[in-house]
Each structure stands twice: as structure tokens, then as C-alpha cells.
Amino acid sequence: MEPVAPIVKFTSLKKRYGAGPWILADINLAVAPNDFVSLIGPSGCGKSTVLKLISGLSPGTEGGLEVLGTTPRQARDRQAFIFQDATLLPWLTAQRNAELPLRLRGVAASERAAKARAMLDLVGLAGARDYYPRQLSGGMKMRVSIARALTLSPQLLLLDEPFGALDEMTRNRLNEELLALRERSRFTALFVTHSVSEAVFLSNRVVVMAANPGREHGEVRVDFPYPRPAALRGSPEFLAKVNEVTQLLHQVEATISA
């Protein structure tokens, strides 16, 4: 059996803006197909920058980065980005927002409408298709944003703290829904978060990053099988993993204050 090509492969990547300080130093992250990798670390550790590099929104300064076997920009067709806020266009209905990426790619109106409708059904928004974003709650907006990203059937999904602004109950439910969606759509995911328990619940790998300059500090493997039930959060094994990640984070914070 030949080795599986990685979805994302960083090789000694460094990043800085102009002559400024290094934002990222020596990133060597590799993401395998079907990985769900969470990036966690103190603010300023460059975890969002990692996502921007992969999506081709921002170039690296030194080193290499391969995404889906090619350059980040050329891999754009096969990846989707979910932002920290839902970034819905306020003048479009939920349905039209979900259609937007297909529309920008020139997909025929009837086809994109059907695809968007199916995705909105899947995220539980069948009844809210004609609502404008201001009529939706924070959780519903984020669901539209997820539906919009999945209409493209991406191989790689990049999520930049998507649930950070939501209350914990909504966040937990969306975590479960995201995993359920992944059972159907089979995407590889890179997930930036500040929440340890969210990272542990979602991921098979939690990468802890350190700041100044941003770098990989350590990694915790989380081998609970998918699909993961909500009850997993109460299990001692789960709490042990949360502790393990928290301790790595404490080390990182110690390096900051030192």
C-alpha cells in the first residue's frame, strides 16, 4: 500500500509581515486525510495565520506549504473557510447566502438553489430559508455559514473559532452537529479554538501552539472513535485528555511570563 498523501504539509514554514517580528517560526504541521486537527494556544500564537496560509489569503515568507497536493491558491476550489463571525451578506436571505459560493463559481441557478436548500435542511434551517441574517440568532447564522461552506463539498474545511461568540449550550450542540455533518460529508478539518473541551471533543489531534514567535509546542492524540456521543464529555477518559491539553497550555503560558 502506498503512503497516503497529506492534505496539508508545512515544511519549516516561517511567516512575518515586512521586516516585522516573526509571526510563525518553523511550522512543520502535517494533516492526513480525515484528520480533525484543532489548533489551540494563547492569543498571538499565529493559529489564525496558519489557516490564512492554507487558504492562500496570505503568503508564507520562508519554507514550504502544500495543500491537497498543490499550492494553497490552486487548492481553493477544494477547500472552504468558516470565519469567526458568520460573515453572511446582510442583504441576502439565508438561502441566497448559502448559494453564494456556487453563484460565484457560475453554477446554474436551479442547481445551486437545490444544493443550498439541501444543505440548509441538513443544518436544521429548512424553516428559515427566507430569513435575512438580522432575523437569525447567532447559532442560526453560524449554521447558515456552515451550510454555505458545505455546498462546495470541500475536501478540507478551515474553521477559525467559529463558535467562540456563542453560549456554551449552543456551542456544544453545534459541535455535535459538526461531527454529524462530517460523518456524511467526509471532510478533513482544521479548527482554531480557545476552548480545550471543544478541541478534545471534536478532534483526533489537538496541536498546542506557543506564541512569540508562533510555533508548535506539543500535540495530544485523542483516539475516541467517531461518531462521538454528547455523553463522552462526562467520561473520565475525556476529562483526562482535557487535563493533558490544559497542562500543555500551562507550559506555554509559563514561557510567556518568563
Binding site: L57, A80, F81, F83, D85, T87, L89, W91, L104
Partner: protein, 264 residues
């Protein structure tokens, strides 16, 4: 803004207006001023009724000039802002000159405009356009440059073309700004037209509009009629502002936060 009851919203200005009218009558009575210096509101309304055919016809002519200049400004303002929003170098080259144009008092330019555009409607439309143009360009350009960076990133991620980014993102996002520009222009356009008529005069046939009536009543010392003309101009201005307010509602009420109702 805190929500007030609609009754209060109507009642307060009404009471305020009535108090003002009462004060007016009081000043007239105790000052001993004559009717041709300070006519009472009643005399003004009587004059307006007496002159209603002239006033209405003149208001119609003024409306044509004002609307012409306003639409020209709305159209050219939109186009100019698209250019300014798209290109930083164009913005740098043109914006200072737009400011220069805006800073030059229209009264100085009027003889030149009459010389070039001719007297009558063309001159009046040009003057109205000149007065209404800048707020539209300035607002719309600002709107085109205020697009949410995450929305831009979303479009870039989807490999959207520059044209798609303009028409599907930047222009709709700038609509509230454009409409704010139109609102300012709507208050200026009738003023511009009346000023134009006053300066250019009745050389194009027709009534010469409200501006010419001002000139005419003034030379005849028909002071109550002059006040009635002011009242008519004011009403015309209100119609303009109301029309743009309606447009603003029609375009934005479904999605824009300024029309948020706290009912969900």
C-alpha cells in the same frame, strides 16, 4: 433611539408649531409692524390661496429642474464613485479637485454656467447638479471602501472576479451610504433649482419657477406672497425628502439594521 409612541411623535411638533404661530401673532400685535413687513400666518395663507395658480405652476417648473439636476447627480455620482472606489490612484488624482469644485461658491460659477449651458432649464439643471453631486460621490465612495474585510476574504476564497466582488459585494454594501448621500442631495436639489431660477430668471418661457416668483413678488413688494413662496418651496423640499426616504425604506428595510424592529 428609544421608541416613542406615534401619538407623541406627531403631537410634540404640532404643539411646538402652534406655539410658534401664537408667538408670531403676538410679535405682530405688540410690535406694531405693518403687514408688508411682517404678515401674519393668516395673511400668508390667504396670499397663498390667492396666488395658488401661479404658485402651483411655478412649483411644478421648479420640481422639473430640481428633479433633473438630482437625477443627473444621482447617476453621475454613482458612476464617479465606482471609479474612485475601484482605483486608489484615481482617487488620489481626482478627490482634491472634487473638493475644489465643492468649495467654489456656486454663485461665482453661475454666470459661467449660464454662458456655457444657456439660460433656462439647462442652466438650472446644471446648478442643481453641481450642488447635489458632491455629497453623493463622497458618501458612495466611503461606502465602497468600507466593505467588511471578512466578506472580501470570503469572495477571494471563492475565486470571485473583480466584477463579481464589485456588483455582488461592494455595491450592495455601499447602498446605505449611497442612500444617505441621496438624502442630503434631496434637501439641496430644490434649493439649487430655486437659486438657479432666481439667477437665471424667466428667459426660457414658462413661469420661471419659484425662484423667479421670489424676484417678481419682491419687486412688487408683495411680501405675504413672498412668504407664501417660501412655504411652497418648503413643501416641495419635503416632497423630495419624503421620496428619497421612501426609496431608502424600499431598498433597506428588509435587511438593514437601521430598520430593526425589536419584535423578535
Amino acid at each position: 433611539m428609544k421608541k416613542s409612541s406615534p401619538l407623541l411623535l406627531w403631537l410634540l411638533p404640532l404643539v411646538c408649531g402652534l406655539l410658534f404661530v401664537a408667538l408670531w401673532y403676538g410679535v405682530r400685535r405688540w410690535s406694531g409692524l405693518q403687514s408688508w413687513i411682517l404678515p401674519t400666518p393668516g395673511e400668508i395663507v390667504a396670499a397663498a390661496w390667492q396666488e395658488r395658480t401661479r404658485l402651483l405652476a411655478a412649483a411644478g417648473d421648479t420640481a422639473v429642474g430640481a428633479l433633473g439636476g438630482f437625477l443627473l447627480a444621482a447617476l453621475l455620482g454613482f458612476g464617479t464613485a465606482l471609479g474612485l472606489g475601484a482605483s486608489r490612484s484615481l482617487r488620489a488624482s481626482l478627490y482634491p479637485w472634487l473638493l475644489v469644485l465643492q468649495m467654489t461658491p456656486v454663485i461665482v460659477l453661475t454666470p459661467i454656467i449660464v454662458l456655457w449651458a444657456g439660460p433656462g432649464l439647462p442652466g438650472i439643471v446644471t446648478i442643481t447638479w453641481l450642488i447635489s453631486f458632491f455629497p453623493i460621490v463622497a458618501n458612495m465612495t466611503q461606502g465602497l471602501l468600507s466593505t467588511d474585510m471578512n466578506h472580501v476574504a470570503l469572495f477571494r476564497m471563492a475565486n470571485a472576479s473583480r466584477l463579481q466582488e464589485l456588483w455582488l459585494l461592494r455595491v450592495p454594501a455601499a447602498m446605505p451610504f449611497y442612500l444617505a448621500g441621496l438624502r442630503i442631495a434631496a434637501t439641496l436639489a430644490p434649493i439649487g433649482a430655486i437659486f438657479g431660477e432666481y439667477m437665471v430668471g424667466n428667459s426660457s418661457g414658462g413661469t420661471g419657477g419659484l425662484g423667479f416668483l421670489v424676484y417678481s413678488y419682491n419687486t412688487q413688494i408683495k411680501i405675504p406672497a413672498l412668504f407664501a413662496t417660501a412655504l411652497t418651496s418648503c413643501l416641495l423640499g419635503f416632497i423630495f425628502v419624503a421620496a428619497v426616504a421612501w426609496l431608502n425604506w424600499a431598498v433597506l428595510h428588509k435587511w438593514h439594521d437601521s430598520f430593526e424592529r425589536n419584535d423578535h
